[in-house]
Amino acid sequence: MIKLFSVKEKQKKDAAAAANGKAVKQSAGELRLQKDISELDLPKNVSIRFPDGQDKIMNFEITLKPDEGLYKGGAFLFTFAVPSGYPHDPPKVKCLTKVYHPNIDLEGNICLNILREDWKPVLTITAVVYGLNFLFLAPNPDDPLNKEAAQMMQQSPAQFERLVSQSITRGCAIGGDYFPPARGERSG
């Protein structure tokens, strides 16, 4: 134990504390995010934007343009909201561009394990971006979020491929839902 206060010689401390009087400049979550952002290693097909400027990094957007696979030619916009509990809590990610994809639903929810059940504080924003990129290269119909898309992918792969390509380039309606062309914008 350490003696912090001397009762008898009163408190010299008040002066020291008053002179110091500074505010907390940032949350521990932001401090960690600065490290992630300074080391962000984006694949060529991914770009990032900080809509609130370089000093407000807790909310940002990335645009992903798959350079191979079924979704090549499309551009998909994601928002990242990093909670102050980061990295104990994972970033909240949504896909704003409507997409016909077995693991992304029409509200933009994404079924990616490291965003929920497999999140660990050692993971980084870079890891999440790579995870999203992978989701477009290898959609997984086994554990779907958009069941219709998953069934189509499993039962009629050729038809699925056609619908994906049509929806991202020209836009089309699939089963009653309209998918505008995927140009990296907010849909709907």
């Binding site: 134990m1 009762v7 008040d14 500074k22 400049k25 600065q34 900080f50 909670p83 104990h88 554990d143």
Partner: protein, 424 residues
């Protein structure tokens, strides 16, 4: 006027020399006077722990207690938050709690205040990691180290923290610069379990899966214009009815309103007795820390009341690279030094350089120079003098990030003298 003999039992402890006491314990009436008049304690949170803390502190001789809490009183608080009555439901916790304590123990003044600097000790009665990390940043932001890397004791803002869950709890002492801070031991807090979205959407197997589905997937879809509020009964009932319907569809049993609340609010059940154990232990440690009247807790005590009573007292260790409480490095610069010169200087420094390959520099939330995504936006700062980038009248702490570092390195700038690291 103080009642003669009121503090008889406490005075035995404070006015008599002991064999098992803290360093420099000086028994005498002055200690009680200091507790009563000089020492200022802040209690953060006026919930289950907070109510107990206020009572315990007041009955341990502390005369100046402030309490802050943003919350209002709910019926489900009354099973443990004994300063509140049925008629208080809806009122501010901080206001009611301080009024009730003052009523009972005269001489104690309590008022809701929001300044952290003036307090000698901060006692935390919080229920979230997020709030703890915030208070940790606050307390550690006061911390200064001397030239030998020893904490300047006049800048140490000690905290005592408690937490409970059912029959289990913990009490810990956080002396920034001396014992680990929350950030040093973040691993003590297990992450919340989250179910995969695809399980919720396609293969629900448990009532909790149905509830989460209603909250996470259905709410935004069916009520996109309403922000979900867990404290709104109509919202909770909506989630409950949707979860019930989903469970019926899949043949899953066990969705109840109580479970729905538990899952949606992530309720960690708190009961009066455990709160009381933990709060009293925390108060005892605050008393020891201020008076040295007995040996202090080093630095974490766990209490488990489920199978008999089991306690474990453990000295956790500091993380010497902790970006929040570690001393960092003093580094001398001129106000006219450019950011580029500073970075080059750090890279060439015999001690620091070996940890750096491509450093980025932040000043609080201000990103002065960032590699990676913000390089283009921050490049122009490289040729600006430091004096243009930071407030040189303040204590300037920069955070250096680099792939070679596990976490940000703190650099404390000292203006004047020749450039370079001042650590020996």
């Amino acid at each position: 006027m103080e009642l003669e003999g009121r503090w008889r039992d406490l005075d035995y402890l404070l006015t008599r020399q002991g064999n098992v006491v803290g360093p420099g314990f000086e028994p005498g009436q002055e200690i009680r006077e200091f507790l009563q008049d000089g020492c200022r304690v802040l209690v953060v949170g006026a919930g289950g722990l907070g109510c107990e803390l206020l009572k315990d502190l007041a009955l341990s001789g502390f005369g100046n207690i402030d309490v802050i809490d943003m919350d209002t009183i709910d019926v489900s608080n009354l099973n443990r938050q004994f300063l509140f009555r049925m008629g208080d439901v809806g009122k501010s916790k901080a206001e009611v709690a301080s009024a009730r304590i003052m009523e009972r123990i005269p001489g104690v003044t309590e008022k809701p205040l929001d300044f952290y600097e003036q307090f000698h000790v901060i006692v935390l009665g919080l229920d979230s990691l997020e709030a703890r990390r915030y208070m940790n940043s606050v307390a550690c932001s006061f911390l200064e180290y001397d030239e030998d890397g020893q904490p300047d004791l006049s800048t140490v803002k000690p905290m005592v923290d408690g937490g409970t869950e059912g029959f289990k709890g913990h009490a810990r002492v956080l002396i920034p610069g001396v014992t680990p801070c929350f950030e040093c031991t973040l691993w003590l807090f297990p992450p919340q379990t989250k179910f995969p979205l695809c399980t919720l959407a396609e293969t629900p197997r448990s009532p909790a899966h149905c509830i989460e589905y209603a909250k996470i997937i259905l709410w935004p879809k069916e009520r996109p214009d309403d922000t979900f509020d867990a404290d709104c009964e109509e919202h909770m009932k909506w989630v409950y009815s949707k979860a019930l319907a989903r469970a019926a569809e899949f043949g899953i049993q066990g969705v109840t309103y109580q479970l729905t609340q538990g899952v949606v609010k992530n309720i960690i059940p708190a009961i009066a007795s455990t709160n009381a154990i933990v709060a009293a232990q925390c108060t005892l440690e605050a008393l020891k820390m201020v008076t040295m009247c007995s040996t202090g807790l080093n630095n974490y005590m766990m209490y488990v009341g489920t199978d008999g009573v089991y306690t474990l007292t453990t000295p956790y260790e500091r993380d010497d690279k902790c970006p929040i409480c570690s001393p960092g490095v003093s580094y001398a610069v001129q106000p006219t030094t450019t950011l580029r010169q500073l970075i080059d200087g750090l890279m060439e420094d015999p001690d620091l350089g070996k940890h750096l390959s491509a450093p980025s520099v932040s000043y609080g939330s201000t990103n002065l120079y960032m590699r990676g995504a913000l390089e283009a936006q921050t490049r122009a700062n490289l040729d600006k003098p430091i004096s243009e980038l930071v407030d040189t009248s303040d204590n300037v702490v920069l955070h250096i990030n680099d792939k070679r570092l596990v976490s940000a390195m703190k650099i404390r700038l000292k203006f004047g003298g020749s450039n370079g690291s001042m650590e020996t």
